[in-house]
């Protein structure tokens, strides 16, 4: 047991410990426990220990002058009641320890050595609370025992014991030998094998693998490699990763027998090919017919979609989800989600610079107060952790966030949805080559760059392809390290521009087995030696090295002639790069451990060998009663109260303060920011950003929309509402109507039939209906689907009870903006400007925020009329292009009311509106007019002297001037002269921000 140096850093007496103060506030506000004061400390453990003099220098350096103090061993600055010590468990990524090590080595001017470790930890010194309370505080607030070890000591215990020198050093054991696993088993045994090894392979898949090895048993190539008839654990794990739902999207590619209302079934060959790729092909044909060429550069076959933007740059966009890990470890799961999706644009073509991030989360209600199973974290805890993770991941990577949203519903208690996305900027050419193409050839070296491999993230892909249960593996949790990745990206951009590699892809789900297995398709095959792979610690079996999802790793294909230069540059930049083997022309993925072959899988079986999945979907429409009307407010005071209540709801209230803890303008390219208006506190419809500081004023607009609750009526309406609002938002910001692309991100409850999944066929039918709706509206709008992802196991089975999310399709739109200076927001600029609504309002209150606020079900769900809507959007887009519109806004969740409030607040003006002028279809009542979420509507602000021109050009489109801005400070809304609302805008804002209420 080598010696250990312990260093504690704390705040000097007389200075505020802001972290302690904020911890104390959370203890009181979130846990309702009392505590007098909290002091915090940072702890560093250096192993092996340092000479005394060195240790003292290090303590002083880490503390710095004035505010903080450091001590070797124990920093004793007065009594407390209980101390909670928190440190990582063995093997968990510790970025702070890593940085501290660099600092110590440069301070002492010597390397600490291969065997040395620096670990970070935290201490919370609590006064005014007892050990029991401290234990609850530790578990509920200060630590996550999935990844951290916690120690609670009273003052007496702490004083009595020597300083804690226990480090989370990984106990290194000899690695498991490679084992052959016979599949000559009964079906039941095969299924059990799949479950016990967390392979997440279905019985037909297990049978297919068994049958393959029967055929392959005598293959000379296999014999020559010294492999027996049974698959090795390496081969089995490799197949499980490659065939996992997460990597293979088997459900989206399954043959589906679909029937509606008991009608004879029809066969859908593949939801993906039919409704997603088919849609994009159809749209692209129309683009070519119209423009003579396509602006789609690279779609479907790479890590992210690529579209044309400027003569110098393409735009690359990808959105991912990271739901299951975020449920277990919100911080680690979320930071891994954002730095993970960063690697998609980076791993597309030869790599892209990162421009901006987007995020969106679906959580259980933050104030949920019913008891939860021990295995579920409280939604507030999940929310705080997820935000903290994506904030650190984005901010530390130097990528601004462009869009962010939150949605709350009871059904996300079991699994939160954590969407993270990244836009990249791809130079049209790099080192003289088209950047969107990869060109790995036989003989190229397989080079892994970035972080080292550990047990973290083993089985992540297969795990996320299974439902969350009490026994979900903790090793499925990774923690992203943005700084290691940022240093890797800086290095890779240099290497890209010097032409040092021929192909690149990221190591995400499935680790090396996926990245090398995928890249090998171009040259034909690959041979890699896991014994060469750099490990965080010894004791990993070959299959673990192959499938580990340890973060911050990219895989390159490097021409042998370029290898020395690439490795030298990596060393200089302090980035680890390792030659693991070579790409070959032989159609095999061969894995070696030193000299010995431990896996030999034909490429065609690896990628095409999984049996075709056949599924049954049955749709039975939900019968919905009419929604009982509510009496119209008799006085504006009644109306004001209703409106304040609605604006304060979880799904509408302002989360500006939270959003401002994310950087939104690093790189200096952000034009229309996420928060706009006189008070800079109103959410923009879309963010607009420049692409580079190269004088080209072309930019891009980003927006998204998601309506999970609409699935309660029909997933078809849910999908279309999302696409429609995302498109309206980018149009309102001045995006080119003929340069809009969309991303589809499906998060679904498990649609596979199983013992505890009685309504699987209806869930699959919802997937079909959503995909049809998506396809119809994208074709009508001329919007190609350039990238997407699906997550199909968003259920939690806790104590036998299944909690399923509502079928949720996130639509993300990206549009080219011709001149960022002309981008629009929702801000009117002067009193007297007129407010127009374009598009009619229908009696559609079903599944809306208003219905939820009233606690009533039933009513028609908002539906789209894509062809009709598109005509009016084209008319509005031309008005905006010609400068006839001052400001524009697309009403969304909550209907017209929140929109009117936003526009008045943003302008810093008063606003008066007469609802009886609103164009309508059918007979919408006051509720539908004020709160209905009818799609296809836009609000336009127009100067009086341009009103006539605007009305003429909107002839034939349902349009009306419904109000005007004034120099007052009130929002006034009438219906046929009857005042429904008459309230101070700052009072509405206070309610919306819950001022005076705990956030």
């Amino acid at each position: 047991m080598p010696s250990v140096t312990r260093i504690e850093i704390g705040t000097r007496p007389g200075f505020t410990d802001s972290r302690g103060a904020s911890t104390a506030r959370k203890i009181r506000e979130h846990l309702g426990l009392s505590v007098a004061a909290v002091r915090t400390r940072d702890v560093y453990l250096v192993e092996p220990g340092l000479p005394e003099a060195d240790a003292a220098r290090v303590a002083a350096e880490l503390a710095g002058p004035v505010v903080r103090q450091g001590a070797v061993g124990r920093l004793d600055d007065g009594p407390f009641d209980v101390v909670v010590s928190v440190g990582y468990k063995p093997g968990v990524t510790d970025p702070v320890g890593k940085s501290a090590r660099v600092c110590i080595e440069d301070l002492l001017n010597r390397p600490l050595g291969e065997e040395a470790h620096v670990y970070s930890g935290r201490m919370f010194l609590l006064s005014g609370c007892d050990a029991d309370a401290a234990g609850r505080i530790a578990r509920a607030l200060l630590a996550n025992e999935v990844i951290e070890r916690v120690r609670v000591q009273t003052w007496a215990e702490w004083r009595g014991a020597p300083p804690d020198l226990e480090t989370p050093r990984v106990v290194e054991r000899a690695p498991h030998a490679v084992e052959a696993i016979s599949l000559e088993l009964e079906d039941a045994a095969l299924a059990r094998l799949s479950k016990d090894r967390l392979l997440a392979l279905t019985l037909p898949e297990m049978r297919a693998i068994r049958d393959f090895f029967r055929r392959e048993a005598d293959a000379p190539r296999r014999k020559a490699a010294g492999l027996g008839p049974a698959p090795t654990d390496v081969e089995l794990e490799c197949l499980a990763q490659t065939w996992s739902e997460h990597c293979k999207h088997k459900i989206m590619n399954a043959v589906v027998s679909y029937s509606e209302e008991g009608a004879p079934p029809e066969e859908i060959r593949s939801i993906f090919k039919e409704y997603i790729r088919g849609t994009t092909r159809a749209v692209e044909q129309r683009i070519v017919a119209r423009e003579g060429r396509s602006w789609l550069v690279s779609i479907f076959h790479d890590n992210a979609g690529v579209i044309e933007a400027t003569p110098r740059y393409h735009l690359v966009y990808k959105v991912e989800t990271h739901n299951s890990p975020s449920a277990l470890d919100p911080y680690g799961g979320a930071i891994t989600g954002i730095v993970g999706v960063n690697r998609d644009p980076f791993g597309t073509g030869l790599g892209s610079d990162l421009l901006s991030n987007v995020w969106g989360y679906c959580f259980g209600p933050p104030d949920h107060d019913a008891p939860l199973p021990a295995t579920l974290l409280h939604p507030r805890r999940i929310r705080d952790g997820v935000h903290a993770g994506v904030i650190d991941g984005g901010n530390q990577s130097g990528v601004p966030y462009a869009r962010g949203w939150e949605l709350f519903d009871e059904r996300f208690l079991g699994k939160p949805l954590v969407y993270c996305g990244t836009v990249g900027r791809m130079p049209v050419t790099a080192a003289g080559r088209p950047t969107h193409e990869k060109s790995a050839v036989p003989g190229d070296r397989i080079v892994m760059v970035g972080g080292r491999i550990g047990k973290d993230g083993i089985h992540g892909a297969t795990f996320s392809s299974a439902e969350l249960t009490e026994s979900s593996p903790v090793q499925a949790v990774q923690i992203g390290d943005p700084i290691t990745q940022k240093m890797m990206f800086d290095f890779l951009l240099e290497a890209r521009d010097r032409g040092l590699y021929s192909a690149i892809t990221d190591n995400g789900a499935g680790g090396l087995s996926s990245s090398v297995g995928e890249m090998a398709r171009q040259p034909g095959g690959a041979r890699l030696d896991v014994a060469r792979a750099p490990l965080k610690y010894q004791g990993l079996a070959p299959w673990e090295i192959l499938v580990s999802e340890a973060q911050e790793r990219m895989t390159l294909s490097v021409p042998p002639a370029k290898l020395p230069e690439l490795l030298a540059l990596a060393k200089l930049r302090e980035v680890e790069a390792t030659d693991l083997g070579e790409f070959t022309a032989e159609p095999y993925l061969e894995v070696l451990q030193g000299e010995r072959t431990v896996a030999l899988l034909p490429m065609d079986f690896l990628h095409e060998g999984d049996p075709e999945m056949r599924l049954v979907a049955e749709w039975n429409a939900v019968r919905r009663p009419a929604l009982q009307a509510m009496a119209m407010p008799a006085t504006p005071e009644e109306g004001n109260a209703l409106v304040r209540g609605l604006l304060a709801r979880d799904n509408l209230r302002s989360n500006e303060d939270l959003c401002r803890t994310y950087d939104h303008e690093v790189k200096g390219l952000t034009v229309v920011k996420p928060w706009v208006g006189v008070h800079r506190d109103v959410p923009s419809d879309a963010s607009v950003l420049m692409i580079a500081h190269d004088g080209d004023l072309t930019g891009y607009a980003l927006a998204e929309a998601v309506f999970p609750t609409y699935s309660d009526a029909d997933a078809h309406a849910m999908a279309q509402a999302g696409v429609d609002l995302a498109v309206r938002r980018v149009l309102a910001a001045g995006g080119r109507i003929d340069r809009i692309a969309a991303l589809d991100n499906y998060c679904w409850p498990d649609p596979l039939e199983g013992p505890n999944n009685p309504d699987a066929r209806q869930k699959l039918a919802a997937l079909v209906r959503a995909s049809r709706g998506l396809s119809e509206i994208c074709v009508a709008y001329g919007v190609p689907l350039v990238s997407g992802k699906d997550s199909m196991k968003n259920d939690a089975v806790i104590a036998g009870k299944r909690i399923s999310i509502p079928p949720t399709l996130l639509a993300s739109a990206i549009a080219v903006v011709p001149d960022v200076r002309k981008a629009l927001t929702l801000e009117a600029s002067e009193p007297g400007e007129l407010l127009y609504v374009v598009g009619d309002t229908r009696d559609e209150l079903g599944c809306t925020e208003w219905a939820a606020a009233r606690g009533v079900t039933g009513g028609e769900v908002p539906r789209c009329q894509p062809e009709t809507f598109f005509e009016r959007y084209a008319a509005v887009a031309s008005l905006i292009r010609d400068g006839l519109v001052v400001a524009a806004h697309a009403p969304g969740r909550g209907g017209l009311l929140p929109s009117l409030f936003y526009m008045a607040r943003a302008a810093g003006l008063g606003l008066g509106v007469e609802l009886s002028k609103v164009p309508r279809q059918g007979r919408p009542g006051w509720e539908a007019l004020l709160f209905g979420e009818s799609a296809g509507r836009l609000l336009l602000v127009v100067r009086p002297d341009q009103a006539m021109a605007v009305e003429q050009r909107l002839g034939g489109v349902p349009t009306a001037q419904i109000g005007a801005f004034d120099d007052g400070d009130r929002l006034r809304i009438w219906l046929g002269g009857h005042a429904l609302v008459d309230d101070r805008i700052d009072a509405l804002a206070a309610a919306w921000k819950r001022e005076g209420r705990q956030a």
Partner: protein
């Protein structure tokens, strides 16, 4: 203007504002080299520090702000670059530190720097956690202190610009030192409230810095460090009021550019 001013921008280790800072210096006519710190440490760059007139420590998250903002980077610079840095300063070179760069300069003891007569680089201040804990990206207003004696503040006046930090509360060794810094004109910029008065009040002052201090210079005025980001205000359309005040914003030079122009003037 004669030969273009040469600006060196060290990059890497998690710094991330190189793109906009380089653009800013180029927009005011300077010639910019972006050089990875490992090249400077290894003496692989073909130019010496003293070949430059301006050295810019940019914003970002060097080493993730782990341990403390700018701390690890400062330790590395002291170990690998301090002598070059001292000869650069000896030649009267100018230094700009923005956000993480300011934190690094303070950790290096370059700001507020040694008193008259001495030449040590002992840290005498710290940029501590904001009073309201945590990172925040929001626009504020800065006013150049009329008493400031630095090329970096000449003609800059009042600036609207974003703050983007979690550790920006300036705490100096003693009240007396702060008095001396004010008297010596080393307080370059202060956060001001809507009435234009220096403030310690959130949100106008995002971190609670005493006397509203947002930026410092050394005794010579050649070294400027500030927490907010002038590199984020290079075009009129960067300003949040752009949609409503285009004409007015187009008439004036963007605030950030005024600072960069001042920094490369008179060289």
């Amino acid at each position: 203007m004669n030969r273009a001013v040469r600006v060196l921008i060290p990059t890497g280790f998690g710094l991330n504002c190189e793109e906009e800072t380089a653009a800013a210096f180029r927009m005011v006519g300077a010639e910019v080299d972006l050089v990875h710190l490992t090249d400077l440490f290894a003496r692989r760059h073909d130019r010496k520090l003293t070949d430059y007139q301006v050295l810019a420590f940019i914003g970002g998250f060097s080493y993730g702000d782990h341990v403390a903002g700018g701390l690890v980077l400062a330790t590395r610079i002291r170990a690998h670059l301090m002598l070059d840095l001292q000869s650069f300063l000896g030649n009267g070179g100018r230094v700009l530190g923005i956000c993480n760069g300011f934190q690094t300069l303070v950790r290096l003891g370059l700001l507020p720097g040694p008193a008259e007569g001495s030449a040590d680089f002992v840290p005498r201040a710290a940029l501590a956690n904001n009073d309201r804990l945590g990172y925040r990206d929001a626009w504020v207003t800065l006013a150049a202190d009329p008493a400031a004696r630095s090329p970096w503040t000449q003609g800059v006046g009042t600036m609207d610009l974003p703050t983007r930090h979690g550790e920006g509360k300036l705490i100096v060794e003693s009240e007396a030192l702060l008095d001396r810094l004010e008297a010596a004109g080393q307080v370059a910029f202060r956060y001001v409230d809507p009435s234009g008065k220096a403030t310690e009040q959130w949100p106008w002052n995002p971190n609670g810095s005493a006397r509203g201090v947002a930026g410092l210079t050394d005794r010579t005025g050649n070294i400027l460090g500030l927490m907010p980001h002038p590199d984020a205000v290079l075009y009129p359309w960067h300003h949040p009021d752009w949609p409503r005040k285009k004409a007015q914003l187009e008439r004036q030079e963007p605030a950030g550019l005024r600072l960069f122009r001042a920094g490369v003037s008179g060289i």
